[in-house]
Amino acid sequence: MKVISSIEITPEIIGNLSEYYRRNIGDYPKFFKMDGLCKTGFIASEILLQSLPADIKSDIAIVLFNRSGSLVTDRKYQQTITSEENYFPSPAIFVYTLANIVTGEIAIRHKIMGESSFYIMSENDTGLQNDIAMECYLTSNPSMVLTGWVEYENDEDFYAHLRLLSK
C-alpha cells in the first residue's frame, strides 16, 4: 500500500469552512446547502483531489469513517419535528441525515464513479481505516482509494484526515 498524499484540516489550520470555501474554491454554490459533515469532507477532499486529472479521478473509490455518523444533522432535523404546534419537517435538512451523503457529495463534485462506503468506528484508527479501504482492491480495481476520518461537531470543532492510497 502506498500513501500518495494526505491532508488534515481543523479550524486552527483552515479557519471557518465557509470562508475557506469563498477564498479558495468558490465555484460550487451547492456547498452552502451541505451540512457540516459534508462541508468538512468536501473541503478536505477538494484540497487532495483538485490537481488530479479527470480520468484518474473517475476511478477512485471513497471509503470514509467517523465516530458520530450524521448525529449533528439528525438532531437538527429532530428539532423541526419535535413540536406539535410548530411541526415543519425540513426536506433540506432531512437529506443529510445519513453520514454516507458526504461520500456522494465528493463523488458528484469530482465525477467519481468508483465504489463508496462510510463506516462508523469508535476510535480514529488510521491503520484499520487503511486496511478496510484497501479491501476495495479485492473486488474492483480503483485508480486510488480516498479514505480517512471526517468528523463535524460545529464550526469551531471539526476534523478531517484524508488520504489517497494506491496498491
Binding site: 465557509s18 469563498r22 454554490p29 452552502f32 446547502k33 410548530n86 415543519f88 419537517p89 425540513s90 426536506p91 433540506a92 437529506v95
Partner: protein, 85 residues
Amino acid sequence: METLIETLKNQIIDVLNLEDLKPEDIDAEAPLFGEGLGLDSIDALELIVLMEREYGIKLSNPAEGKEIFKSVASVADYVSKNRKK
C-alpha cells in the same frame, strides 16, 4: 407587493441556504427552477414548507406548484391572494 417580494427574497435565501446571494441579486421575474436561481427538487419541497410555516398556505396540488413557483413575483402574487397569516 414590493415589501412582500423583498421579504420572500430574504426568506428564500435563508431557507435554501443561498449564502452567496443577496436579495438584490435575485430578479423577481426570473425563473426559480432550471435557469435563473437553478433550484432543485429538494428546494421545491423546502419552499412548500416555507409557504405553510410563514403564510399558512397548504399546497396540495403539485400541478399548481409549477405556476406558483415560476418566479419570486408569482410566489408573491399567490401569497398576497391566499395567505392565512
